[in-house]
Each structure stands twice: as C-alpha cells, then as structure tokens.
C-alpha cells in the first residue's frame, strides 16, 4: 500500500461536480446529476458536489445526505422539543408529540419550493483541516485519515497549500484499491500452498 500515492487514485477536480456559491440547492442537485451521467463508466458515482467561490476555491461540499436534510423541516427548537426520554416520557408519547409536530409542517410542495430556491451555502458543509491531503501522500496514510474522520472523501492538494485543490480522493476508490490488493495477496498465498 505504501507504494501507491494519492494522486494515482483521485478524481481530478476538473471531472468533479462543482457549483458556484451563488447556486441554489436545485442547481446544485442538477450539477450532481450531470456529473453522475458524465461519469457513468465508473461503477462508483458522485455522491457530493463541491462549492466554489468567485476565486475558484473550494469552500464546502453538499452531500446527498445534506440534500435530504435540507428537505426536513427541522428548526432550532426541534432537538430541544423531542429530546425527552431522560425526563421520564414513554417512547409512545414522544412519537405522538413528533407526529403532532409533523402535522404542523407545510405541504411537501411548499417545502420543495422553499428548499430548492435556497442558497446552497445554507446547507453545505465546510471542510475541516483533517479533510485535506497532499497528492504525494501514500495511500496507507490516506486510509488512516479516512478512518479517523470518518470521511467519505478527502480534498487532494498540490503541496501543503489547502487552497490549491487538484482533486478528490473518494472512499469508494480507496476501497477498490485495497480490496484488489488483498485479493492479489490471497491468490499469491494460495498459489504457494498449491505448489508446496
């Protein structure tokens, strides 16, 4: 694994789904859909879209989960209102309370309309320091970094400058490399046993 480096397995930034920070949620999802079609040859499709500022710097990402969360009507009081089990309420009563809350939420078409017109910056997740990795780093270090998050992808930089993004290293691609390496090793062991 040490002989492999990140650069060999990343998706170049030019092939990744990106949108401007001024984009709406709907435009971002369209960009993601298009990137998936363009990348159809790959067995692992895009699961996130990167958000770029006016200087073409990556300022965040929107995952499929972020998109679904955007459609949920959770306000700041949601968690406060339903975190009740430690105060002696039964799960049945809490479920009923949630159902009452759900009934008060607007119709689904209104939710779609409101969410899709919202700015992507409202729902995107900024990258943490641990989500960057240099393109010359060995793949075993990348595996460790993905596990430590855990993260579904890492932003690959040219050198230590985190503003110089050259690609995205995805968990699915790393998994594929590791799994194939393991299969190769196993077949070597089997061959030795057969001949021994």
């Amino acid at each position: 694994m040490k002989k492999y480096i990140v650069r060999d397995f990343m998706v170049p930034i030019s092939e990744y789904a990106t949108v401007a920070e001024s984009a709406t949620l709907y435009e971002s999802v369209l960009a993601l859909e298009k990137a998936q079609e363009d990348y159809a040859k790959n067995r692992y499709s895009h699961r996130a879209v990167l958000v770029m500022n006016a200087d073409k710097r990556v300022i965040g990402k929107l995952s499929q989960l972020d998109f679904l969360c955007a459609l949920e009507q959770k306000d700041n009081n949601y968690d406060r209102a339903f975190n009740l089990s430690h105060l002696g309420f039964s799960s049945k009563a809490i479920a009923s309370h949630k159902e009452q809350h759900r009934k008060r939420t607007p119709p689904i078409n209104e939710i779609y309309e409101k969410a899709t017109m919202s700015s992507i910056t409202k729902f995107m997740q900024p990258h943490s320091h641990e989500e960057y990795i240099e393109d010359t780093t060995s793949l075993d270090i990348a595996v460790h970094q993905l596990n430590a998050g855990p993260y579904l992808s890492l932003l690959v930089t040219k050198g230590p400058d985190t503003e110089n993004i050259v690609g995205v290293l995805r968990l699915a691609d790393v998994f594929s490399v590791v799994f194939n390496a393991m299969k190769k090793y196993e077949s070597t062991i089997t061959d030795r046993t057969d001949t021994g």
Partner: protein, 473 residues
C-alpha cells in the same frame, strides 16, 4: 476583601466539581455577576415575630442586602439581596406524610446554607424530601437573578436567572434560564433554558419548551454578561423605588390596610392602590394603581401594576401582572409575566390557572376564559388556543396529549387535582380564609415584625464578611 474573593473562588470550584459530569464551567457565568463594591454596600436584616422560631447563625459569609426570617444557618456563603424566608418550616412534633409513611418531625426544621452563592434568590417553603425532614439544605450551589429555591434541597447545582425549582431535591444539576422544575427528586440533569417540567412518577408528566428565539427577547443569559431582556429591564426600571424603601428607617404609609391584612415594610406601594381584607403583600413586592381583593396575595418579587385582582388570587413568587383584570381564584404561577396594554387589556376569567413561568404579552385585547389552564408563550388568540385547555378537558386526558411545544402524559385529572389542592393550601397558608378567629395565616401572623440590621467588616482582609453571629431568643 481578600477573604471574600477566596470564598468566591472556593464556591466556584466546588460547584464545578459537582457539575463535571455535565461538563459545565460556572466561572465565566458567575465571576462578574456581582461586583465587590455591591457585596459590601448593603446591610442585611432579619425579622423577629412571636410566631416564628428565632435561631439565626451566620459564619464566614457575606449577606449583602439579604433578609432572614425563622431558623437558618449560613456558612462559607455569599448571599446577595436574597430572601431566606423560613416562615413555613416544619415544627417539632409535626407529622410529615409521605406516601404511606407518617414521619414525626424530631426538631424544628432549619434552612442550612453552605458553600453557596445565591444572587437575588428566594428560598422559601420547607423540605419535601422525607430523607431530610429537619434540614432544608443548600450546599455547593450557585443561583442567579430572581431564581426561586422553593422547598427544594440542593447539592452541587447551578440555577440560571428566573429559574425555579419547586418541591424537588436536586443533586448535581444545571437548571437553565427561565426553567421551572417540579419533579420530586432529580440528579445529574442538564435542564435546558425555557423548560417547564412537572412530573409525579406514575401519575403524570408535563413538559413545555419555549421556542428559544422568542424566549431570548424576554430573558437571555450568556457568559461574562448580566442577564438581559425584557424581564431584567422591567425590574431594573423599578429598582430605584426599592432603594428608597431600603434606605429609610421610618417608613410610614398613608395606605389603608385592614387589620387582618399584612403589608410588608419592605414592599413598594405606589398611589391609588387598594388592599382588601386578608391580603398578604410580602417584602420586595411592588404595587401600583392596583386593587387586591379579599384574600389575594402578592409574594416576593411580584409586580402588580394598573391591575385588578378580584379576590383569593395567588400571585406566586416573582410573578408580574400589568394592565390586567383577574377574576376570583385566578392563580398566577412563579415568575410569570402577564402584560396587557393600557388600551388592550388582558382579562383572565375566574378559577383559571396560569402555570408557572408563563408569558402572556398581548398587543391586542385578550381574554382568557374562566376555568382554563394556560402555559408557555402567549401573544395572541392563536397562541392562546394552542397553549391552553379548559380544566375539564385537561382532566379527561388519560394517556397522553400533545399540542404545540407541550407534551403531557398520564392522568390529567390527577394533574388538575394536584394543582387545585396546592392553590388551596397556598391560600390557607397565606391567611386568605381567616374569619376573625380561625384560619390564621401569613397575612395575620406577619403583621408585626421587628427588623434588625447587621453589617459586615468595613475594611481590611475581612471587608464584606460578616462576623460570626448567633441570634437566639
């Protein structure tokens, strides 16, 4: 002053140790809440009456602006403008009933405060914990502006501003700003701001949570700053009137007070106020252009302004009633804030229960019907429909019920009965039903109180500390 600062450090450390599991550091919230100057500026005072045991013991403490009545012991503590009102403590040979137990009280109950910092807090009622019948303890506890510790022994707790813990023993708990808890016994809980929680295990469980964005307008508390919001502004605007009352020795009032009613010498009464028979007005209450009908009461830190109370009204500790007309037997719970407007008055029908920590702030006329239960934030008719229920309908709940941010589980009938019994008990204790010979209560027994003042060291290392004092008959 050196010893006072050391004492504050010691209290902060002890509370932080108790709250370590909740991972809460009280220091940034507490350090600047009361300046050293304030801690040395005001005298403390205590009441003497023939009706309450006199046994006060102060040791290594600051008592600035605080008031004491009954049996209490204060050690290694800072009490700033706090009322320790021991006129409902259990007496020797009384029988305390708890479930199927009938427990004899072996000696007069006393309030015992150790290693605590209480700011503008009211301590009242008696310990409801059968495990500590004779001692209402408050240990390693910090409480902030206008908190109520009501019949609630406390060990290792922090109470945010305008919070109330009622008839509940608490250990290692954080009680958020403007939260009300009545749950019997709690430990290691982080009660979030704006929580109204009333629980009687196996009987009922009620919770309401304020929308924080709305609550913050009324009360907001963050590290390094004094509490802010409408509730603080409201009390600060009337602070000067209290300063005049506390500075003068010879307070005389021209107000006519019936012989069976009680108006505390440390209450503020502004013109055009009328006090009916069997009325109780406690210290630090504020009355202005209002009428209190027979058997009504205004407890500590209550404000009643431009309002009419028909009679037998309980205005519990810290409640505020402005531009409102209340029918008979209306109960207004702890720290509630009811505000109509001069041209848009608030009307509350008789026998209605305004639950503790309710905010009604209407900018159009608003009428709460009789026999209702009201809770939470109410600004208009729509809020009222969501946050109230006729008492009869509430009594019919037998499993669970949810509306708005409120969830109830258990027996609605048991809940309503418990509330009604409690209100009846409060009226009895306050002397609302005195008939000239029987049913005496605080309104009759607290009429003739002598007040003595005590003061701290004026300078040096001990500046602000009161000498060890033991006051007995």
């Amino acid at each position: 002053m050196k010893e006072l600062n050391t004492l504050l450090d010691r209290i902060i450390q002890r509370v932080n140790i108790d709250l370590r599991e909740i991972n809460y550091n009280v220091e940034p919230f507490v350090r600047q809440l009361v300046t050293s100057d304030q801690m040395t500026k005001f005298y403390a005072f205590y009441g003497i009456t023939p009706n309450h045991p006199l046994n006060l013991n102060f040791k290594h403490s600051n008592l600035s602006g605080s008031y004491f009545l009954g049996k209490s012991r204060i050690a290694n503590s800072l009490l700033y403008k706090t009322d320790i009102r021991g006129d409902e403590l259990k007496k020797k040979n009384e029988i305390f009933g708890y479930k199927n137990f009938k427990i004899p009280v072996n000696k007069d109950e006393g309030i015992s405060i150790d290693d605590s910092f209480l700011i503008k807090t009211l301590v009242h009622n008696f310990s409801h914990d059968p495990e500590t019948l004779e001692t209402f303890f408050i240990r390693d506890t910090i409480s902030t502006h206008y908190a109520n510790i009501h019949g609630s022994p406390s060990d290792g707790c922090f109470l945010g501003p305008f919070s109330t813990v009622d008839l509940t023993t608490m250990r290692d708990c954080l009680i958020g700003t403007y939260s009300y808890v009545q749950a019997g016994e709690i430990s290691h809980l982080d009660i979030k701001p704006g929580t109204l929680w009333i629980r009687q295990p196996d009987e009922f469980n009620f919770i309401y949570r304020y929308p924080l964005d709305q609550l913050n307008e009324y009360i907001y508390f963050t590290a390094g700053r004094l509490p802010q919001g409408i509730l603080m502004d409201f009390t600060e605007d009337r602070k000067e009137a209290f300063q005049r009352v506390f500075e003068r020795v010879d307070m005389e009032t021209t107000l006519s007070v019936p012989s069976n009613a009680s108006l505390d010498r440390y209450a503020v009464v502004k013109p055009k106020t009328r006090i009916g028979e069997n009325v109780l007005v406690a210290q630090r209450a504020y009355l202005q252009n209002s009428s209190l009908g027979k058997g009504a009461n205004a407890q500590e830190n209550c404000y009643i302004i431009n309002s009419t109370l028909q009679g037998n009204n309980v205005t519990a500790h810290g409640a505020k009633i402005i531009e409102a007309d209340l029918g008979k037997n209306v109960f207004v719970g702890f720290n509630s804030f009811l505000r109509g407007r001069p041209n848009y008055r608030l009307t509350i029908g008789q026998d209605t229960i305004i639950m503790p920590h309710t905010i009604i702030d209407n900018r159009k006329p608003l009428s709460v019907p009789p026999n209702h239960l009201v809770w939470g934030m109410v600004k208009d008719e729509k809020d009222l429909a969501r946050n109230s229920l006729p008492l009869n309908d509430f009594s019919k709940i037998d499993s669970h019920f949810s509306t708005g941010n409120m969830l109830f589980e258990g027996s609605g009938a048991a809940f309503v009965t418990a509330f009604k019994n409690r209100i009846q008990h409060i009226l009895e204790a306050n002397g609302a039903f005195f008939n000239g010979t029987e049913n005496k209560g605080h309104a009759q027994q607290n009429q003739n109180i002598s007040f003595n003042i005590i003061q701290p060291y004026p300078d040096g290392d001990k500046e602000g500390l009161y000498p060890t004092i033991h006051i007995r008959p």
